[in-house]
Symmetry: C2
Subunit: 280 residues, 2 copies
């Protein structure tokens, strides 16, 4: 598996890199970012995945996330994938909430999306294999995952489906139940088709109802978030975790919205929370 | 003096705002950002100015600067102006290093630039008056200044010309002597004209040679900065400070370049350095 280095910059004592590779999963080139903190030669460092929200690429969190200081302090590698396949040949349509920038971390089964929109396989299988091959300091036995909005949905669902891969899972303003919100109904209906049974593997609350179990979850949610009531519904996750005995820490953050000003306020804290669990 | 609020976002417990106003100095609308940290009602907070570099607006540091956590911790207001007048009626020309995005913090005297390119008056006089009027928690008796590249030049020259206004001055990869570099020769030659005597008020090293004095300066400079040798010449500032008895802390940062990955690594530390001096 090969990749190309787009750029590297020294930051907080480590290296912020942007990389590109040809993806078998999506059939396109894919770009992602990796921050490697300062470390001693031969050290093996845990990996925190960050999945981004609608309209984003790897770049938003890389530039605005304010995570590097905490990653440098705790010795954590930070990986940020793109949110969809890219390129002129990739089917798309108008609207920010479907198509490019809106892969929803699913493997599409419906035409014309199934050929490229395979972000589940990309994030669950292909990119971890590439990271393991290209970053010898990455200790793939110690991984955690977080994400924002659509990427919070991605972090929760990928984490819940792979409890042995991830030591810990957190999210910022996640779409906790795509089955029950307009963004999710549109995306799953078109990527996966009208049979709603197939949607449940892409819904954190449904996964928990269907038996997925982790010890704990950390979720931050701004109470001034424009999408809170219609799209995000954190109460659904609270109820599902309560019934399942999952220890959910849901922090309603007063005055915070859906932006990177919210994420960057708390992302360093999440890095520290994951670091505690990655070092046990 | 009136202004319009473009946006406000809660961040690190305070408020990151973007504002717009009609400027008498430039004859255009101007946009700037102000971060007000969390504070008690009636508190009076010191102000740190940040002047940006070539091609930037207020937005670059606001989004990528990683300064808010330190400002929240130390109780510092952070003000980031734009780098030039803006608008379709403002004269401009091709090239990133002159015209829009490249005001060089001078009051132009040459046609056609003199009508709008008055960033010295804007940053030295008009914007501070607006901040004092619109942000009642801003304690204008306690100000400090920093900046990057062209904005490091701005911070040094404005600071050196106004030693009683600023408690402390720092810079990131500053243009320390525009008289002695291509960026500066082009900008000053066209904004101020060919008489080089008029350039010296816009050159930190010349100001020091001509008698400007401050107690100390803090400068961070990456040693992997592409512009180091041709444009930045920190040795000229080192020599000028040595002759003048100014205590310059010039830190050559190994492996760092000219980007916001460099700035964001050290800006929090600069905020803390200024905070010590603003609280005495």
């Amino acid at each position: 598996m090969s990749m190309e280095t787009v750029s590297t910059n020294r930051a907080h004592g480590g290296t912020q890199g942007i990389y590109r590779h040809g993806s078998d999963a999506t059939g396109t080139n894919m770009t992602f970012s990796v921050y490697v903190p300062p470390h001693e030669e031969g050290a093996r460092l845990p990996v925190l995945w960050y999945l981004s929200g609608l309209t984003c690429t790897h770049a938003n969190v890389t530039e605005k996330g304010e995570f590097r200081e905490a990653c440098a302090k705790h010795g954590i590698i930070f990986v940020a994938p793109d949110t969809s396949p890219r390129g002129d040949d990739v089917p798309d349509e108008d609207g920010y909430d479907f198509g490019k920038g809106a892969g929803f971390y699913v493997d599409a089964t419906e035409k014309p999306w199934a050929a490229n929109y395979r972000m589940r396989s990309y994030v669950e299988e292909e990119l971890p294999t590439l990271i393991a091959a290209q970053f010898p300091m990455a200790d793939m036995t110690r991984q955690s995952i977080t994400g924002h909005s659509m990427g919070g949905h991605g972090a929760l669902t990928i984490g819940l489906r792979n409890p042995n891969r991830f030591r810990s899972i957190s999210a910022f303003a996640p779409v906790v139940s795509p089955i029950h919100c307009p963004w999710g109904e549109k995306a799953l209906g078109r990527y996966i088709g009208e049979d709603r049974a197939g949607w449940r593997q892409y819904d954190a609350c449904a996964l928990i109802e269907d038996g997925a179990r982790v010890k704990e979850l950390l979720v931050d949610q701004g109470d001034a978030d424009n999408f809170l009531e219609e799209q995000l519904n954190p109460d659904l996750l609270r109820d599902a975790c309560k019934r399942a005995g999952i220890d959910l820490t849901l922090r309603m953050q007063p005055g915070y919205d859906h932006s990177y000003y919210f994420i960057s306020t708390f992302l360093g804290e999440h890095v520290g929370w994951h670091a505690e669990r990655l070092k046990r």
